[in-house]
């Protein structure tokens, strides 16, 4: 289920992930969820940049988001995140449950 994108001479394997938005990230993006094509392997900061690029309205909370992958938080220090088509990435603003 991977698309092949040619950038210069490099073949990047891409995956189609599902982004889901909550609370403030849902209000700012105006979306509950969305699809995004991303490289199969990215660092945390690359993934965040790609999301902010695709959804610039998230900029106001760009410093206060955490991303999740398939219902687990991703560490902001993660260098190699492997993403497969169908993976669910949460765009998670500061929580306030309890």
């Amino acid at each position: 289920m991977c698309a092949h994108a040619y950038i210069g001479s490099i073949i990047l394997m891409e995956s189609q992930i599902t982004l889901i938005f909550f609370a403030k990230s849902q209000e700012l993006s105006g979306l509950k969820d969305s699809q995004l094509s991303v490289p199969q392997s990215v660092s945390y900061s690359q993934l965040l940049s790609l999301i902010l690029q695709a959804f610039p309205r998230l900029e106001p909370i760009s410093e206060n988001l955490i991303l999740s992958l398939n219902e687990d938080y991703i560490s902001v220090e993660e260098e190699v995140i492997t993403l497969q088509t169908g993976d669910e990435v949460g765009v998670i603003p500061p929580i306030s449950g309890g």
Partner: protein
Amino acid sequence: MDHVEITVDKLNVERIQSSVASPKCGAISLFIGTTRDHFDGKEVVQLEYEAYRPMAEKKMKEICQQIRDKWPVENISVVHRVGVVPVCEASIVIALSSPHRKEAMEAVQFAIDTLKATVPIWKKELYGDGTSSWKENKECCWKSDHT
């Protein structure tokens, strides 16, 4: 028993308490988070909770496991309400039973502290002046600096 639940229904403390009772246990400790009618001097007219439901339940189950790694508890129930929660009603009930009381009380404190830091649920306060605000737990490590 580990029971975690996210529900739109009004929380029934008696039912949750009974569900953790055990003839092996001498202690049940409960924490109930209730909604307040004011924040920073502003009147709160409505509160609404939203959850990333499957992940929230997963994180709540992880808290149950962490409790069992630390304390000899018998039954655990963690129930969070979502949707509109009227002032004075419970948004969260944590109940657990253990043979002796010290571990029950410590484990409940750990559970609510950890829930506030890790479980993806959000609260929006609607104020009397028409404004509203998404809250941020101080236990949340990626919160904004100004809160």
